[in-house]
Amino acid sequence: MKRFTQMEYKDPDELLFGHAKYPISIGNDTEIGAGHVIPEINVAPGEGTEESKEKMVSECRNITRSASDRAVNIGLPAFILEQEHISQQTNNPDWTAECTQAQVEVLEKYHDEYGIKTGLRATPADIRDEEKDSGFWSSDLFNRVIESIEASAENGAAIVSIETTGGKSVSDYGISRGDPKAILFGIGVLGSMDMEYMWEKIVPICKKHNTIPGGDTDCSQSNTAMFLAGGLLDKDCSHTLTALARAMGAARSLVAVECGAQGPLKDCGYENPIVKAISGVPISTEGKNAVCAHSDLMGNLMASVTDMWSNESVYHREEMGGTTPEVWLQATGYEAALMNTAIETGEGKTLRDLYTLTDKYRDPQALILAYDNAYRIGEAIVKNGDDPYLRARAAAIEAGAIINEAVDSKKMYLTRFERDSLDSALKVLKKLPTESDKFTKDCIRKYSRKVPDFDPKNYEL
C-alpha cells in the first residue's frame, strides 16, 4: 500500500466542485468528477420494511422508481441513488443481492428509456460489533459484511461503500469526556488500522466485479462528535474539539483511498475536502440539502469542492410536493444544477468562494474545512503521511493552529468553553510521544481499563 506523502493538488485554488483530479466512470455514460456535479439521493427504508426480504426488495424498488421518475420529470441529466443497507440486508447477503438487482434494473430502464445518466451506490452496513463478536476481523459477522459487499458488486451496484466502525468505542469515550488522546487513538490509530484491514479486502472484490470501490467515511467518529456538538446553543461537545476530531478523521478516511478506493467518497464524510485535496479522488458531500437528516453549521461550505451533492438520508414517506425520493432528489438536483451553471459560465470558482465564505467563520468546524484550510490540513497529513498516528495528530494540531490564527485576526469568535477545550486539547496533543508504538502501548493500557467495549485483540494488538 502506498501512503500519500505529497499532495495530488498543488494549489488549493485548483479545488473546485465537479472537478476531481482522478475522475471515475461508472457505466451508463456516467462520469463523476469529470466536470460536473451530480446529485445523490439516499432514502431510509420505512418502518416495517425490515420484516421480510420481499418487503425490503419492494421498498428499495419503490425508492428507485420514485427518484427516477422525478429526475426525468424535472430534466436532471444525471443522478446517483445511494442505498445504505440496514443490518438485516447485510446479515442476509441474499437480501443485498435481490435489493441491488431490483434497484439496478429500474435505473437501467430509465437510462435506456430516457438516456438519463445514473447508477447505484450500495453501502452495506458494518454490522461487526466490538462488544459482542470477539473476532472483529474474522467472525461470522465479518464474513457477512464481506459477502454483502460481494453481493452488491456482483449484482450491478456501480459503486460500493461502507462506513467502517473501527476504534469507535474508544473515540466515543473520548468525545463524551472531551479527551483528545482517546479521540486520537480511536480515530488515528484504531480507526485507520481497521480501515486498512477492511479495504484491503474490499478493493479486490470490487475489481473482480468491475465495480468502483467508492470509499469510506469517518462517520462513526467525527460525525458522532459533530452531532453531539450540535448547534450554537447545545452543550454536549465543544465545537473546537470537534473540529480537531474532524481533522483526524481525514487522516483516517484517506486510508481507504490508499488501499485503492477511487471515490466518490461517502457523502457523510465532512472531512472529504481534505481527502480530496490530498488524493485527487472525487467526493460526495452533504450540507444544506441534508437538513432532513441533521443540522450542521456549514451547509453551504460543504458544496465548495464536491463532486456529488447528497441529502444524506430522509424518511421514506410523502410530502405535499411528492414522495421523499422525489422531493429530496429535486432539492439536491437543483443545487447541482446551480453548480453546473457556474462551471459552464466559468464562474465556478466564484460560486465556490461564495459557498465557502458563507460559513467559513460560522463555526470552528466549518473553518477548518474551508478549502484553503482543508488544503493546509492535507499538507500536515502528507508531511507525516507514512504514519497514521502521527499524521492524524498533525492534522489536529494544524486545525488548532488554523482556529487560533482566525481568532487572532478577529474573524473567528469562540466561547470560553470552546477556547478552553481547544487550549487544553492542543496542550495534550503537543505533548504526546512522537513514536506510534509508544503512544499505542500507552493507550492500550489506559483505555482497556476505562472503555469496557475496547478489546485490543480486535485489532490484533
Partner: protein
C-alpha cells in the same frame, strides 16, 4: 462578466434536459395511431361522429349528430357506437401522453352536448355505466381536482354527481342514500380538511351505509393518512378515477383490493411508500 456573455457560454444539456422535447416521436394524426385505429368505428355515420369528438369539434359534432338523428339513426347507437368510441380514443391518447387535458375537456364538452341531443330524441337520459358521487371536503375551497374527476368520469361513461366544494359529511351521507353510488370520490387539498374523510366514513357507518370504496385524494392528502381508516383508497391522479370505478364495477373490487392493486388497476407508475 455580463449576463449575456455568461448565457452564451452555457451548454444547456450539462445543466438540464427537456425530456418532453427529447422524447417526442414524429407527429401523426390522432386517427392514425394504431391503437386508436382499432377503437374507431369503420361504418358511417359513426366514424364521422367519433372523429368530430376526436377532433374536439363541438359544433361539427352537434351538426352531424343532429343530421344522423334526422336520418333516423338510433340515438343509443349514436351514443354507444359513435360518441363513446370517439371519447375512448381520446382517453387512450391522453393516457399515452399524446393528448392533453384541454383536448380531453373539449372533446368531453362536445360529447356531452351531443349526448344531450340524442337524449332529447330518446325522451330520457341515456344509460350510464353506474353512478359516482364526487365532493370536496368540508372547509376546503380547492375544487379543480374534483372538477377534473367529474370530467374524467363522464368521459368514461359514468353518471357523475357533483356535490361541489366545502361539503359537510351529512350531505355526503344523504347523497349516498339517494344515488347508491358504486364509488365516492373525495378531494381535500389541506392537512386540516383531509380530516373530513374519516368523518364521512364514520357518518356512513353510523347510518349503516357502505360503498365499495371512497377514493380520497388532493394536494396535501397523504396515503398513510388515508389508509389509517377503513373504506378508503388513496387517489393519485384524476384520470385514475374511471379506472378505479371500472375495477369496482367489472371486477367487483373493493377498497381493500384497490389499496393493494392500485398501480395495476390504473396501469401506470405510482410512487409508492409503505
Amino acid at each position: 462578466m455580463s449576463y449575456k456573455d455568461l448565457e452564451d457560454k452555457i451548454d444547456q444539456r450539462n445543466v438540464y434536459l427537456r425530456y418532453n422535447v427529447e422524447l417526442e416521436g414524429p407527429a401523426i394524426k390522432p386517427e392514425e395511431d394504431e391503437e386508436v385505429a382499432k377503437i374507431l368505428p369503420n361504418d358511417e355515420p359513426f366514424r364521422s361522429i367519433a372523429l368530430t369528438i376526436l377532433n374536439e369539434n363541438r359544433d361539427e359534432a352537434i351538426t352531424i349528430v343532429k343530421k344522423a338523428l334526422d336520418d333516423g339513426i338510433s340515438p343509443l347507437d349514436i351514443i354507444n357506437e359513435g360518441l363513446m368510441k370517439g371519447m375512448d380514443a381520446v382517453s387512450l391518447l391522453y393516457t399515452k401522453g399524446i393528448y392533453f387535458l384541454p383536448d380531453l375537456m373539449l372533446s368531453g364538452d362536445a360529447m356531452m352536448e351531443s349526448v344531450k341531443e340524442c337524449e332529447a330524441v330518446l325522451g330520457h337520459k341515456s344509460d350510464s355505466k353506474a353512478t359516482v358521487v364526487s365532493f370536496v371536503a368540508e372547509g376546503d375551497p380547492h375544487d379543480i381536482g374534483k372538477n377534473l374527476i367529474l370530467m374524467f368520469l363522464r368521459a368514461g361513461g359514468y353518471e357523475a354527481i357533483d356535490m361541489g366544494r366545502d361539503v359537510p359529511a351529512s350531505d355526503v351521507v344523504e347523497a349516498v342514500k339517494k344515488y347508491h353510488p358504486i364509488f365516492l370520490t373525495g378531494t381535500a387539498l389541506m392537512t386540516t380538511t383531509m380530516t373530513a374523510f374519516p368523518k364521512v366514513v364514520k357518518a356512513l357507518e353510523d347510518a349503516d351505509l357502505e360503498v365499495p370504496a371512497i377514493g380520497c385524494g388532493g394536494g396535501a392528502v397523504r396515503k398513510d393518512f388515508v389508509e389509517s381508516f377503513p373504506m378508503s383508497v388513496y387517489g393519485v391522479e384524476a384520470y385514475h378515477t374511471p379506472k378505479l370505478a371500472d375495477a369496482i364495477l367489472n371486477d367487483k373490487k373493493d377498497w381493500k383490493d384497490l389499496r393493494k392493486e392500485y398501480s395495476d388497476v390504473v396501469g401506470g407508475f405510482v410512487s409508492e411508500y409503505s
